[in-house]
């Protein structure tokens, strides 16, 4: 029996000592994750990596019209805290948080990896995409904060760059334009898969250069001319390619509205780059019923539309006044009826075929307290109202913008000729049947905005054209910033609505008891306090 005992004990002890010596037992590796060793092998890897940036071009959660709530175009139901100077310096975040810098880091991470790859044409093409996105992210940083640190590599915990002072906006813009030029040189001319093309990069360059050129000009920073020339040349490349044109079916009273409620924009001649929405795959929430916007156009905005004769309301005999809602739509630029709701067109069209009209003006229930409902971009059809279910496609870069960029840049350079106007803004006016803009303008509008830096009549009219054509597409705030036009927000019409019969037919006051004061500090956003505490070389933007 003792013999048996010994055997048992020996077997058991040797069993587990044998296992204890087996070191593989503790070697465990991630089973369902990619690591760098198995990635960064081919252009296909790069393409897959670059996919992550596309949603940022225009996130499907962003509604273009919301970007104009702080501007003189829109009157939201609640005062916009930033534009009313009611926002405070945040402790963290505020556009300068970790997640806000992630895009730039992710681009740099890839650019660091690409240096180890063999650069064939395909690799260069995806490198171009990544460089495009890096410039895309940096542009939004410059717009918000002015000077920002430029990083060439993905930062590590011990990088000295972490606690560096900011680079000047000029350095950053110069660097991002290099990346953008690389993208333009290496991106393909067409992409059946709806990826970036050279034309998209040129369109973006046109936007960046116009922004920065005019910003420097009007904020007296110098070195703006070359940028304006770049804005011209990149716009010209697109125009001269003759690949794009203004969308029209010959119906001046509906083409403009129709353009923004297309279920399929792929192939649309005005689309330099479009983003698609397909049911069950990707849908959005931009265009629920008109009433759901919680915002409406302001009095100031609707007065910007010219009359059909090409004259402003102060000068045109066609203008019927605004005492009666609806009169002011008569004989105006047809884009007005296609952007602002009036009772003579359907408000909602139900699946059952029932058509509903809305009696105007209507201030109370329905969330457009100016009574100028945003019509542009809003579908009338019930199928599109459901939250998160809309499939109306959207532009990433629209040819219309490029035409106006071109005209404005040319005009800012003093090269605004009739020929320039005819190959740009007048094409947009043709679509809606408006008379052409002429170089000499031909009138002096007493209602021209009281710009802080005065501008020539032609520039005034190009700016009007831009405001009207690109209404609620998300440009207005940037435009006001670059033109140093924040003071325009002090104009009370920027927060008044239509005449309200219930209050002695006075203009509807959006926020009774409040007046808006512009503060120049708002041209740049504040840096969060924690960032300044962590990096003493980081200084706060002026005024904050």
């Amino acid at each position: 029996m003792n013999y048996m005992k010994t055997i048992y004990v020996i077997i058991i002890i040797s069993l587990f000592t044998a296992m204890a010596c087996n070191d593989d037992y503790l070697e465990k590796y991630p089973l369902d994750q990619v690591n760098d060793g198995s990635f960064w092998k081919s252009a296909a890897d790069l393409a897959m990596y670059a996919n992550q940036f596309y949603p940022d071009l225009k996130p499907n959660t962003e509604r273009s019209w919301e970007f104009e709530d702080p501007t003189d175009n829109n009157g939201p139901s609640v005062r916009n805290a930033y534009a009313w100077n009611e926002s405070i310096v945040p402790a963290t975040g505020g556009g300068y948080g970790k997640s806000d810098w992630l895009g730039i880091r992710s681009c740099n991470y890839a650019l660091d990896k690409i240096t180890t790859m063999k650069k064939d044409a395909e690799v260069l093409m995806y490198e171009a995409e990544i460089r495009f996105f890096k410039s895309f992210y940096y542009f939004s940083k410059v717009k918000s904060f002015g000077d920002v640190p430029w990083f060439d590599h993905a930062l590590q915990t011990d990088s000295e760059d972490l606690v560096r002072a900011r680079d000047s906006r000029k350095t950053v813009i110069a660097n991002l334009l290099k990346d953008l030029d690389f993208a333009i040189a290496n991106l393909p001319a067409t992409s059946a898969a709806d990826r970036l093309t050279k034309w998209a990069a040129l369109a973006f360059k046109s936007r960046v250069c116009l922004f920065e050129g005019t910003f420097r000009k009007y904020h007296n920073l110098g070195d703006h001319e070359a940028l304006l020339r770049d804005a011209v040349s990149s716009s010209e490349s697109i125009i001269n390619s003759a690949l794009f044109s203004v969308y029209t079916t010959g119906k001046p009273n509906s083409d403009y509205f129709d353009l923004f409620v297309q279920y399929e924009l792929k192939g649309n001649p005005e689309g330099i780059m479009v983003q698609r929405y397909i049911e069950g795959k990707r849908t959005h929430d931009h265009v629920r019923q008109m009433s759901a916007a919680h915002s409406g156009y302001t009095k100031d905005f609707v007065e910007a539309y010219l009359c059909k004769d090409g004259l402003p309301i102060a000068l045109s005999t066609l203008y019927k006044g605004d005492a009666v809602f609806g009169d002011e739509f008569i004989d105006r630029d047809p884009r007005m009826r296609q952007s602002v709701y009036n009772s003579d067109r359907p408000f909602r069209i139900y699946d059952t075929g029932v058509i509903e009209y809305k009696k105007m003006p209507e201030f109370l229930y329905g969330n457009a307290f100016t009574s100028y409902y945003i019509l542009k971009g809003f579908s009338l059809y019930e199928r599109d109202w459901l939250q998160g279910h809309a499939t109306i496609d959207d532009f990433v870069f629209r040819y219309g913008e490029i035409l106006i960029n071109y005209a404005e840049a040319k005009a800012e350079l003093g090269e605004g000729t009739q020929q320039v106007l005819d190959k740009s803004v007048n094409l947009l006016r043709d679509r809606v049947g408006m008379p052409h803009l002429t170089v000499n303008v031909g009138f002096v509008d007493p209602n021209w905005p009281n710009w802080e830096v005065p501008v020539a009549p032609l520039v005034n009219e190009i700016r009007r054209e831009r405001r009207v054509e690109l209404a609620d597409e998300g440009f207005r705030w940037d435009d006001l910033m670059r033109w140093k036009a924040g003071k325009l927000l002090e104009n009370t019409k920027t927060y008044l609505g239509a005449r309200d019969p219930l209050t002695s037919n006075n203009y509807r006051v959006l926020y009774p008891g409040y007046t808006r004061k512009w503060n120049d500090k708002l041209y740049l956003h504040p840096i969060p306090t924690q960032e300044i505490a962590l990096n003493p070389k980081l200084k706060q933007n002026p005024g904050w």
């Binding site: 296992m19 990619v34 990635f39 890897d45 949603p55 996130p59 100077n85 306090t529 924690q530």
Partner: protein, 1127 residues
């Protein structure tokens, strides 16, 4: 399942278990036990001791009266005990009597010598629960006259001397003496030995006599878990052991509790290692009735044997087993209770909300709330004053196809029940023969939920069997099987989860449930919650958790055991999420479908985890020269786990009521994942004690984990402890009468902690997701950049010092334990120093922080009997605080860790009050707190730094503006007060528990949120807001979107979360045996019990002081009736 049906099932099950096992040991021990021995020329004493060695028989006799020195020869083969004894005592004057396993020896001459005595006495002996105690020795002090109680606990003695003192003694019970006096009947109740020499507690890989413990160890037995309406083990253990801190964050059916020992161990959080029979099982899945004992290893020295996973302490749970040579005991228990939420949700009624929103909107925009124009006001007030007025109307400015709403619905009452049932049934059979013991139990637990329009249901089934079989005297094999199955069905809460209350948003009082045409009323795009509960589909899961353990125990040589066990666990969880298309209605009829429900879908997910544990350890125990006690143990442990998940989803069900993917037409989505981990360690322990006075223990463990890279993988963690039994010293003998036991303890140990986030923290990996953009008409996959990792991660170490004292006073009636400790956690693996945001990703984990925690725990126990009345009082008190001793935070950011920080500190502004006038408001610059213009009725803060404006500075230690530390959310001075009393068959238990000091910043949901979010339903307490007529309101003046001065952390809204709560009140009655015996029932007890019946707290009534949140499922009060039967 109806109760009747369950009972039927249980009866059948019990019968089956009974039949299987009953034949094993139907005869008595003395009949079945056969002994063999062959000894020459030995004393009777040696023979008796040999019999005790070979069997479980125990002899009871007095050395002085019984001559056991007589020399005899014995030679027997396979004879019953009675034959042997008859032979051995032949020719002596020794008489014997076998009662169960006890054999009483008496002297046949005694009765002859004492013939002159006149007196006789009789009575009954019971245990503390009133059950009769058979086999108790009843002796006349100073004589050898004595007897043993019979199976009914009765005894009778005759021939007593005039002033006789009776001694009652029984192993495991405290001996009692009583002067007989003139009494002819003496009933005696024996209580368990409080610090019985023999009391044994589980320690890591073995057991230890409680009296020999050197570390900080607490243990409780099954009694605290029985006869109460508890839903899980955590609830049952709360407040039972000092500094075992158990928190129940929500009362949703099937939700478990979280465990903590002695406070913050690491800023990473983490919970103690919980082992059930040596393997890590989720205690929330267990049936509390299966648990025999729970031991809490609090200090490093006690826990060190578990090394790398014991940094947060260890909880050892031992399940019930059978006893050898016991007749089968069948136990049944049942409990039915009604739960009702402690906190009742209330939201503003239609008029309250209208006034509130209008007031708040005028503040924000200068005009009334957009939905409450004059038309609304008129109709809402009309319906409010006269409920027969319609709940809907046609608004002149709204679409003729839409309804406008003017109802007044109390949504919380419509959606939530005020009480819901819970029931629990357990049956078990245990027993054994001389070679075999068994315990088998089955239980069913069912709990219903709060939802009024949805049958929220949780079921748990537990099956457990413990079997041990002695193959030979030195070879035992055992099997443990535990199957824990649970399933739950709960409503779809638009993604908020099963713990949360899903209706908090949007269910405004003026929104009716139904339209005049009978359809569910639709408002916006969030489903009507009654419709959602009734028609929205469901979430359900089904967990099957099975454990199988095989064990081997060898005793190759005397005093040595060798143990080996292997366990495997298969955990399988299936989830179904079934979302139905919910229609919306307007005046035209069907108006489409709620977007969150469209398309309908069914998602199935499967989680499959396997866990394998192997333990092998050997120990040796001996006493040399009667003074040197040595116990040594060494062993090996390894565990590995592999997890995998798989899910699939398909949209657009063909038939809305059939949630199967085969019957759907939409796209298919699938996903999966997997991971593996392993740990391995070797450990040893040495105990030495000298003359029961000086006790020493050393532990060491060498541990490795797959979570660190090869070079940082292994570490050694040693510990030691000392104890001094002062009461065993010679000089102490004089004090023994007042202090019956006194032990001083001290320990020091170090532990590792591998409990870090992520299974592979040292490897950088990239996630892959589908990008939300269409490329080529489809959403493409994308690979993301990996985050930052530190390549040099290694173990956190925890060193802990503990000083303790155990004492027993007043003849053992008052016992106590007091421990103070300090724990230093070094190299905590946490996010390293906060770096500028341009880093763009989270700082990698690093061994970045140190922390010190100190505290104490105290237990005082009082037990006393006054005749039949027996009572006990237990008082517990514990406390801890933690402080950061190392963290790199050069900028001194107060929202980060910093050196000297007391964990739980809350930084905030000091609320001064409300402005009385607009002028007052204009005079104080608070623009850095909120940009909105301040007016009368708004909050103002105190200007602590005197700079004339209210700021938060840079939120650093050197510049924090007007902020200061306004409180601390650590629960301080947790206490428990427990009493139990019994008299005749009645018993009463009372348990109070609480926390003496704690500050809580309530989360915003339902509280101050209505100042920054116009969409949530407003809480009822919100109506107490400032108006010129109500300047002392709790809340400031309403403001829609922008009340950031209200939601900022501040003294005014800080809650005092101290509380005292009546956790348990149980009143029971054991039906006299006389009555139950006719039914062949040995013991039958019925009881009434309540949990959380009452509390005292200053916390605002929208939150439970224990739960400290207003977003989760509330905790419940429960009232129950139950019954325990054993036969």
């Amino acid at each position: 399942m109806p109760v009747g049906k369950i009972m039927k099932i249980m009866k059948v099950l019990t019968f089956v278990m009974f039949v299987c096992i009953v034949h094993v040991s139907a005869r008595s021990y003395s009949q079945i036990t056969k002994l063999s021995m062959n000894m020459q020329n030995v004393s009777i004493k040696q023979v008796l001791s040999k019999i005790e060695d070979q069997s479980e028989f125990r002899f009871l006799y007095s050395d002085s009266k019984i001559n056991v020195e007589k020399i005899v020869d014995v030679d027997f083969n396979n004879k019953p005990i009675e034959d042997i004894l008859r032979n051995v005592f032949e020719g002596s004057n020794i008489l014997f009597k076998v009662v169960g396993k006890q054999i009483l020896l008496s002297n046949s001459t005694e009765s002859a010598e004492n013939t002159q005595q006149q007196k006789s006495i009789s009575g009954k002996v019971t245990d503390s629960s009133g059950s009769p105690l058979p086999g108790v020795t009843v002796a006349v002090k100073g004589t050898t006259n004595g007897t043993i109680t019979n199976t009914n606990g009765n005894y009778s003695l005759s021939n007593l001397p005039a002033n006789a003192t009776l001694q009652f003694s029984f192993i495991g019970m405290k001996s009692q003496e009583i002067v007989a006096g003139n009494k002819t009947t003496i009933n005696m109740m024996l209580s368990e030995e409080t610090i019985g020499i023999e009391e044994v507690v589980a320690v890591g890989y073995g057991t230890q006599k409680k009296i020999n413990l050197t570390g900080a160890v607490s243990s409780v037995d099954s009694k605290v878990l029985e006869s109460r309406p508890i839903t899980n083990l955590g609830q049952g253990l709360q407040g039972i052991t000092p500094n075992l801190n158990i928190t129940q964050y929500n009362g949703a059916p099937g939700q478990g509790a979280s465990f903590n020992i002695r406070g913050n161990t690491s800023i990473n959080g983490g919970s103690p290692l919980i082992l059930v029979n040596g393997i890590p099982i989720d205690p929330n899945l267990l049936n509390p009735n299966d648990i025999a004992s729970v031991t809490v290893l609090k200090d490093a020295a006690s826990a060190a044997i578990y090394g790398a996973r014991a940094a947060y302490g260890v909880i050892l749970i031992t399940t019930k087993g059978g006893k050898k040579n016991d007749k089968p005991v069948v136990s049944l228990s049942m409990n039915y209770s009604m739960n009702s939420p402690v906190v009742k949700f209330e939201t503003m009624d239609a008029v309250e909300r209208m006034n509130y929103m209008n007031e708040g909107s005028i503040r924000a925009t200068g005009r009334p709330w957009e939905q409450f124009d004059k038309y609304y006001a008129e109709k809402i007030i009309a319906h409010y004053n006269d409920p027969s007025q319609p709940e809907t109307f046609q608004h002149p400015n709204e679409s003729p196809n839409e309804y406008a709403f003017s109802a007044n619905i109390n949504w919380p009452r419509e959606l939530l029940r005020s009480s819901f049932p819970m029931q629990q049934y357990t049956s078990s059979v245990s027993g054994g023969s001389d070679k075999f013991d068994y315990y088998t139990s089955f239980s069913y637990f069912n709990q219903k939920g709060m939802a009024r329009h949805f049958d929220e249901n949780y079921d748990r089934y537990n099956f457990m069997t413990n079997l041990n079989y002695n193959i030979t005297k030195w070879f035992t094999v055992g099997t443990k099987i535990s199957v824990n199955n649970s399933k739950k069905r709960y409503p779809i809460n638009t993604g908020i989860g099963e713990q949360a209350i899903g209706f908090y948003k949007y269910q405004w009082a003026n929104w009716p449930i139904y339209l005049p045409d009978g359809h569910f009323a639709t408002l916006g795009s969030v489903p009507n919650q009654v419709q959602q509960q009734e028609e929205g589909g469901y979430n359900a899961y089904n967990i099957s958790d099975s454990w199988l353990t095989g064990l081997v125990k060898l005793t190759p040589v005397k005093n040595m055991t060798f143990n080996m066990d292997y366990s495997s666990n298969v955990y399988n969880r299936n989830d179904v999420s079934y979302k139905r298309l919910l229609p919306m209605y307007n005046r035209l009829g069907l108006a489409g479908y709620y977007p969150f429900t469209n398309p309908s879908s069914v998602t199935r997910a499967n989680t499959n985890n396997s866990y394998y544990v192997f333990n092998a350890y050997a120990d040796y125990e001996n006493t040399f020269s009667k003074k040197h006690y040595v116990k040594a143990m060494a062993g090996f442990n390894q565990e590995n786990t592999s997890n995998s998940q798989f899910w699939a989803m398909r949209q657009k069900l063909i038939v809305e009521t059939i949630p199967y993917m085969n019957l759907a037409t939409g796209d298919r989505f699938v996903g999966d994942g997997g991971s593996e981990t392993a740990v391995r360690g070797a450990f040893a322990r040495l105990n030495y004690s000298y003359a029961d006075r000086y006790l020493v223990e050393f532990n060491g463990r060498y541990d490795g984990t797959s979570k660190f890279s090869k070079k940082d993988r292994f570490a050694f963690f040693p510990s030691g402890s000392l104890a001094w039994r002062v009461d065993n010293e010679a000089f102490f003998t004089g004090l023994k009468n007042s202090i019956s036991m006194l032990k001083l303890r001290g320990s020091y140990g170090s532990l590792g902690n591998q409990n870090v986030s992520g299974n592979y923290p040292y490897i950088a990996t990239s996630g892959a997701v589908a990008a939300n953009y269409l490329i080529n008409g489809d959403r493409p996959m994308t690979v993301l950049a990996p985050g930052l990792v530190s390549a040099t991660l290694t173990w956190e170490t925890v060193t802990q010092r503990n000083l303790g004292v155990d004492f027993a006073l007043l003849d053992g009636r008052l016992t106590g334990t007091f421990d103070i400790y300090r724990r230093d956690t070094k190299n905590m693996l946490t996010r390293s120093q906060t770096l500028p945001a341009v880093l763009a990703v989270n700082e990698p984990q690093a061994n970045a922080a140190d922390m010190k925690t100190s505290g104490f725990d105290l237990t005082l126990d009082w037990k006393h009997n006054i005749r039949d009345f027996r009572y006990g009082i237990t008082f517990l008190l514990s406390d801890y605080t933690s402080e950061i001793t190392k963290f790199s935070n050069p900028s001194g950011n107060i929202y980060d860790y910093y050196v000297g920080q007391k964990l739980g500190d809350i930084w905030g502004l000091v609320t001064g009050g409300f402005f009385n006038t607009d002028a007052e408001a204009a005079a104080l610059d608070q623009t850095q707190i909120t940009g909105r213009v301040r007016q009368a009725g708004d909050i103002w803060f105190k200007d602590l730094d005197g700079d004339g404006k209210i700021t938060r500075g840079q939120q650093t230690l050197t510049n924090h503006g007007d902020m200061k530390i306004i409180g601390n959310n650590t629960p301080r001075y947790s206490f428990g007060f427990k009493t139990n009393a019994s008299w005749k068959g009645f018993d009463l238990d009372l348990f109070l528990q609480g926390v003496a000091k704690r500050d809580i910043e309530l989360d915003n949901q339902y509280f101050t949120r209505q100042y920054i979010d116009e969409w949530s339903a407003q809480t009822k307490i919100g109506v107490d807001y400032w108006t010129p007529a109500n300047p002392n309101a709790y809340f400031p003046r309403p403001l829609i979107n922008g009340g950031y001065d209200v939601t900022t952390t501040q003294t005014h809204f800080l809650q005092n979360a101290a509380y005292l709560r009546l956790k348990q009140l149980t009143f029971g009655y054991t039906i006299p045996e006389k009555l139950t015996q006719k039914l062949k029932i040995e013991r039958m007890r019925v009881y009434f019990s309540g949990n959380n019946l009452w509390e005292a707290t200053k916390m605002i009534k929208i939150s439970d002081p224990e739960q400290v949140s207003v977003y989760f499922y509330p905790l419940n009060r429960s009232i129950s009736v139950g019954m325990n039967i054993s036969f």
